[in-house]
């Protein structure tokens, strides 16, 4: 028996955040009339994560301000909400999703949008004063911990660690930021731009530790409370609050008993399908992007929605068009907003073609092989969009240089 997609298919969406909510919305915007069920493990109505490490930590937004949509929006779209109950299994033969309350729900199409969760260090168990940041509850807990802290060690020199360090230092706490790459954001932006971000942090009073020696060896604990961090270099840094921003793990445990391939997230084809009637979107989805000819899994906010729209269209049209986006992200570092289009990972060369972070206006372009593959900018929104177009058309690097 093959069950059809199309306008009246029953769609079950697992994961009620940026990806899941966008999928429901995109289906309805395209005239889908079948039942839609949105299942979310968290008890909160869907909320947005980027403000958690920015305005929420700094106290500029409250927990009630980060809702993704007005409270009645999904019900108005006739989407059945099942929040506060996790999915525990997917049965691809029977086409059912099993929930933590023991019930099953059947589907014609299922969209997996369970995202990622914060990676923990093996040492964390029940130590007070050690935090991670992925969910709203964690953000609220972290905010009050920072308010009570004197000296904070942030472990991780990626986007999350740098944003948390920037927010904490703005709140008047002593901050040590430890990243094991040679400079901040090296993996994401490369060393050239990363050095500029590191300079910004130092000038605002963040104490930096970088390089392999800044790898955490162990946490020092007294009476169940963290007292500091021992690094591989042997150095000990005293702290009453340690924040781990050491990456993420795709939330796929609930899929282990299914037949899906889960090497790093949910392995999908180019159209974002992962099996008969099964799709994945957002941070959890790994797929082959034909535009860059690379298998990627993107943890950026706008990818979750773009991929959700793409999957909604595949479900309604019943075709297998490939998902071939130019990835985009932004990050706030103090008062500087860094924006990037493209796929920067593994690039061969970075060229700053205009300004610097200090000037408040900067444009840098990235080469992989002989092609322009990315652009990073600060304070140059329109120019950035033009460069995005050149990335989308895979402009030859020499042509890009002569334009700059």
């Amino acid at each position: 028996m093959s069950r059809s997609g199309g306008m009246d298919a029953k769609v079950v969406i697992v994961g009620a955040s940026a990806g899941g909510v966008s999928a429901a919305e995109a289906l309805r915007a395209r005239g889908h009339t079948g039942p839609i069920e949105l299942i979310g493990a968290e008890k909160h109505a869907p909320y947005d994560r980027p403000p958690l490490s920015k305005q929420l930590l700094k106290g500029e937004l409250l927990a009630s301000d980060v809702a993704l949509r007005a409270s009645t929006h999904l019900r108005d779209l006739n989407v059945a909400e099942r929040f506060g109950v996790a999915a525990t299994a997917l049965n691809t033969k029977a086409r059912t999703v099993t929930l933590a309350d023991g019930t099953n729900t059947d589907y014609d199409r299922v969209i997996i949008a369970t995202g990622v969760s914060a990676r923990q260090l093996p040492i964390r168990n029940s130590v007070g004063g050690v935090h991670t940041l992925r969910t709203l509850d964690e953000a609220v807990a972290l905010q009050s911990a920072i308010a009570d802290a004197k000296r904070v060690v942030v472990v991780g020199g990626g986007f999350l660690g740098t944003e948390i360090a920037a927010a904490a230092v703005a709140l008047g706490v002593d901050v040590v930021l430890a990243g094991k790459a040679s400079t901040l954001l090296e993996g994401a932006l490369g060393a050239t731009v990363g050095e500029q971000v590191a300079g910004l942090h130092t000038s605002r009073g963040v104490e930096l530790m970088t390089g392999p020696a800044a790898t955490v060896h162990q946490l020092r604990v007294k009476d169940g409370q963290v007292t500091g961090v021992e690094f591989r270099s042997g150095e000990f840094v005293q702290a009453d609050l340690v924040i781990l921003a050491v990456g993420s793990e795709p939330a796929v445990d609930w899929l282990r008993s299914s037949s899906l391939s889960l090497t790093d997230g949910v392995d999908c084809s180019s159209d974002c399908s992962a099996g008969e009637g099964i799709y994945a979107v957002g941070d959890v989805a790994r797929w082959h992007n034909p535009l860059f000819n690379v298998s990627m899994r993107i943890e950026h906010r706008t990818n979750a929605t773009d991929q959700a729209i793409h999957v909604a269209e595949r479900i309604l049209n019943g075709d297998t068009t490939a998902y071939a986006p130019v990835p985009y992200f932004w990050s706030d570092q103090f008062d500087v907003k860094i924006q990037a289009h493209g796929y920067l990972r593994g690039h061969d060369e970075v060229k700053v073609i205009e300004g610097s972070l200090d000037d408040g206006r900067m444009i840098a372009i990235y080469r992989t092989g002989g092609t322009l593959t990315g652009v990073v900018a600060v304070g140059a929104a329109k120019a950035l969009r033009q460069w995005r177009g050149h990335v989308a058309t895979k402009m030859d690097w020499h042509d890009a240089i002569s334009l700059s």
Partner: protein, 65 residues
């Protein structure tokens, strides 16, 4: 058709201007949304809906035909 805008929440992503270039643009320096057409014709509806869905800061709301 019409919609509401909450400029205070805009993070300058420019996704709106890519999704519906005849309706939205951005400031050049900070990238904040600029509405080119507050009452776009009906054939823009799908694009405006998508801009609202794609916007990472829920700036565009209340999209109505």
């Amino acid at each position: 058709m019409k919609f509401d805008i909450n400029v205070d929440k805009c993070v300058g992503a420019g996704v709106c201007a890519i999704a519906a270039p005849e309706v939205f643009d951005q400031n050049d320096d900070d990238g904040i949304i600029v509405v080119l057409d507050p009452n776009p014709p009906l054939e823009q509806a799908q694009l405006v809906h998508d801009a609202a869905t794609r916007c990472p800061a829920a700036v565009i709301t209340n999209v109505q035909l």
